[in-house]
C-alpha cells in the first residue's frame, strides 16, 4: 500500500512575520523556512504506518519554487521513500494544489493521502477536503487517530464539541490535527541517507493543470493592535474595575 504525503514549505513557525512595505504580502526573502508543522505530523503518521508494516511506500510531494526541495529532503529524512517536486514560481492556491495532487494520485495510485489540516501561512484549511472532492474519496479531516482496516480506515476527528469517529472506504484522504502524533527529529545518518533518495521534478503544465490563482490578494495589512492596559494591585481592585469601569460583570 502506497501513501502520498503532500508537504508545504512555509515561514518557520518561530519567525515573527514582516509585511512588505507596499502592502502586497508577507516578506519571505531571507526568512527561515520550514515544513508546515501539520505536514510534519502527516509525514510522521505515514512513516509509523510503514513501520507497522501497513504501508509499503511513502511518496512526499511539494508544490512550489525550487526551495521546496529542502522541505522534501526533510520528509525523506523522516522516512519518506521518494519525493516529487511540482515546480512553479506562481502562487499556488488550495484549489490549484488539489488539482496538481489529483493528477499525481491518478499517476501514483496511493491508497491513502495524508495531509496537514492547514498551512500556518495562509491558514486556509482547504487542500485535503478539495483533493477528496476532486477524487470522489471520503475525507477524515482533523484526525487525532488513524486505524487502517481491511478496505477501510477508521479516523477519530477533533470536532468542536469533542471527538467523532468515522469510517471511510479506501482509498481515502486524512488530514492531520495536532494530537495525531509527535513528529520525530530526523537523525544525522537519516539526513545523509535522504540526500541519496530519489527526488523527481515535474511542472504543473506537464501534469495538465492550470495553476492560475482564483483569488486576488488586494492588500495585506497589520491587524489592529491592542494596547496594554493597567496593572491592578489586588483582586479587590480587579473586581471593582470589572464592575464599575469595564462593566462586564
Amino acid at each position: 500500500m502506497k501513501i502520498l504525503v503532500p508537504v508545504k514549505r512555509v515561514i518557520d513557525y518561530n519567525v515573527k512575520i514582516l509585511l512588505k512595505a507596499d502592502g502586497t504580502g508577507v516578506e519571505t526573502a531571507n526568512v527561515k523556512m520550514s515544513m508546515n508543522p501539520f505536514d510534519e505530523i502527516a509525514v510522521e503518521e505515514a512513516v509509523r504506518l510503514k513501520e507497522a508494516g501497513k504501508a509499503t511506500e511513502i511518496v512526499a510531494v511539494s508544490v512550489g519554487p525550487s526551495g521546496c526541495q529542502e522541505t522534501l529532503r526533510t520528509a525523506l529524512a523522516m522516512g519518506a521513500d521518494r519525493a516529487i517536486l511540482v515546480q512553479t514560481d506562481t502562487e499556488t492556491q488550495p484549489l490549484a494544489v488539489a488539482k496538481i495532487l489529483k493528477a499525481l494520485v491518478d499517476k501514483e495510485g496511493p491508497t491513502l493521502v495524508i495531509l496537514g489540516k492547514q498551512a500556518i501561512d495562509d491558514d486556509c484549511n482547504q487542500t485535503g477536503q478539495m483533493l477528496a472532492a476532486l477524487l470522489g474519496w471520503g475525507q477524515g479531516t482533523f484526525a487525532s487517530d488513524v486505524a487502517l482496516g481491511d478496505g477501510s480506515v477508521t479516523v477519530i476527528r477533533e470536532i468542536d464539541g469533542g471527538l467523532e469517529t468515522v469510517e471511510l472506504k479506501l482509498p481515502a484522504i486524512v488530514t492531520a490535527d495536532l494530537r495525531l502524533n509527535e513528529p520525530r527529529y530526523a537523525s544525522l545518518p537519516n539526513i545523509m541517507k535522504a540526500k541519496k533518495k530519489p527526488l523527481e521534478t515535474v511542472t504543473p503544465a506537464a501534469l495538465g493543470v492550470d495553476v492560475a490563482p482564483r483569488l486576488t490578494t488586494l492588500k495585506v495589512v497589520e491587524p489592529a493592535k491592542r494596547k496594554a492596559g493597567v496593572k491592578v494591585p489586588d483582586v479587590a481592585t480587579l473586581v471593582d474595575k470589572l464592575k464599575n469601569e469595564a462593566r462586564v460583570i
Binding site: 508577507v26 488539489a98 477536503q129 468542536d160 471527538l163 486576488t216 490578494t217 496594554a228 483582586v235 473586581v239
Partner: protein
C-alpha cells in the same frame, strides 16, 4: 443575488454560530436562504425561520445528513448551491470540513474564515495566525465562504420566513458515522460564551482547573485552556483556545497562568476586555491585557471566587 447559508445545528438546536453567519450574509447583501440539513431537524428549521433577515429556510431531512458527514452534505450543497451567488457557513468544524469540498466540486475557490465583508466579492481574512489581515477578491461565479463568527454580531429574532422541504440527493456511501464523544458541560459553549476563563501551564494540573470552574460557575462563564495546558494533559483538546484550537471573542476573557504565546493570542485577542493573572510580570499576555494582576494564581483564584 441570493445567499445560501448552511445552518449549524445538532438536529435539535440551532447553534448560535448560524446567527453570526446571517449577519455576515446581510453585509454582503441580497436574499438570504438558510439550509437545514439533518434528520428530524424540523425544530431547527423553525428556529432558523425566525432569524431576522432570512427570507427562506430549506429543510432537507434525511438520515444521510444526521451527522453532517462531508461527503453526502457536499454532494447535496453542490446540487442546490449552483443557483446561488454565495454559499456561506460558520467556520466551525462542520463548515471547515464541508465547504472546501463544495468549492472544489463547483470548481471555485473557497474563502476561509472571513472577518470582514468589503463588498459582495471582496473579503477580509486573517492569515499567519491573525498576524496579518489579507483583503481578497473572488471572481468565481459562486463564492464559497466560511465566516469567523466572533467577527460578526449575532442576528436577532423577528423573522418569519417560510420553510420549504427539499428532497435529499442520496449518500455517495464513502463514509459512515461510528460514534461521537462529546464533552458534557453545564457551562456555556466556549465560542458563544459571554465570559471565558482559561487556564495555562501555570495551573500545574488538571485537578486545579476546579479553581477556574468555581469562578466560571459564579460568572456563567465557559472554561478554556491554552495549548500548553492541553499538551500537558490537564484538560481535553476541545478546551483549547488559540490558532490551533477555538477562536473566541467574549466580552470578558480571563487568562490565568497563561504566558501569552502568539498561538494563544491568535485565539482570544479580539475579546472586548482581557484580564491576565500571572506571577511572571514579563509575561507577554500582559501586553494585550486591559487589566493585569501580577500574583500567584493559587492565591488570587480563591480570593476572586470569594469576591464575586
Amino acid at each position: 443575488m441570493t445567499i445560501l447559508i448552511l445552518a449549524e445545528h445538532d438536529n435539535a438546536i440551532l447553534k448560535p454560530a448560524t446567527l453570526n453567519t446571517v449577519t455576515a450574509a446581510a453585509k454582503i447583501g441580497g436574499d438570504i436562504h438558510v439550509l437545514v440539513a439533518g434528520k428530524g431537524a424540523q425544530g431547527v428549521a423553525e428556529a432558523a425561520s425566525k432569524i431576522v433577515g432570512v427570507s427562506k429556510v430549506l429543510l432537507v431531512d434525511d438520515a444521510a445528513y444526521e451527522h453532517a458527514l462531508a461527503e453526502p452534505l457536499a454532494a447535496f450543497l453542490v446540487e442546490i448551491g449552483r443557483n446561488y451567488s454565495h454559499i456561506l457557513a460558520p467556520a466551525t468544524s462542520v463548515g471547515k470540513n464541508v465547504l472546501p469540498r463544495v468549492a472544489a466540486l463547483l470548481d471555485v475557490a473557497a474563502v476561509s474564515d472571513i472577518t470582514g465583508v468589503v463588498s459582495e466579492d471582496i473579503f477580509e481574512r486573517p492569515i499567519y495566525a491573525g498576524n496579518a489581515i489579507a483583503t481578497v477578491q473572488s471572481r468565481d461565479g459562486v463564492k464559497v465562504v466560511t465566516v469567523r463568527t466572533t467577527a460578526f454580531e449575532a442576528a436577532g429574532p423577528g423573522g418569519s420566513a417560510p420553510v420549504e422541504t427539499v428532497s435529499a440527493t442520496g449518500n455517495p456511501g464513502l463514509s459512515s458515522f461510528v460514534s461521537a464523544e462529546l464533552s458534557k458541560s453545564e457551562r456555556p459553549e466556549l465560542t458563544s460564551a459571554r465570559i471565558v476563563i482559561s487556564g495555562g501551564r501555570g495551573m500545574q494540573s488538571g485537578d486545579n482547573f476546579h479553581l477556574l470552574e468555581a469562578i466560571a460557575d459564579k460568572l456563567g462563564a465557559a472554561v478554556g485552556a491554552s495549548r500548553a495546558a492541553v499538551d500537558a494533559g490537564f484538560v481535553p483538546n476541545d478546551y483549547q483556545v488559540g490558532q490551533t484550537g477555538k477562536i473566541v471573542a467574549p466580552e470578558l476573557y480571563i487568562a490565568v497562568g497563561i504566558s501569552g504565546a502568539i498561538q494563544h493570542l491568535a485565539g482570544m485577542k479580539d475579546s472586548k476586555v482581557i484580564v491576565a493573572i500571572n506571577k511572571d510580570e514579563e509575561a507577554a499576555i500582559f501586553q494585550v491585557a486591559d487589566y493585569g494582576l501580577v500574583t500567584d494564581l493559587f492565591k488570587a483564584l480563591p480570593e476572586l471566587a470569594e469576591a464575586l
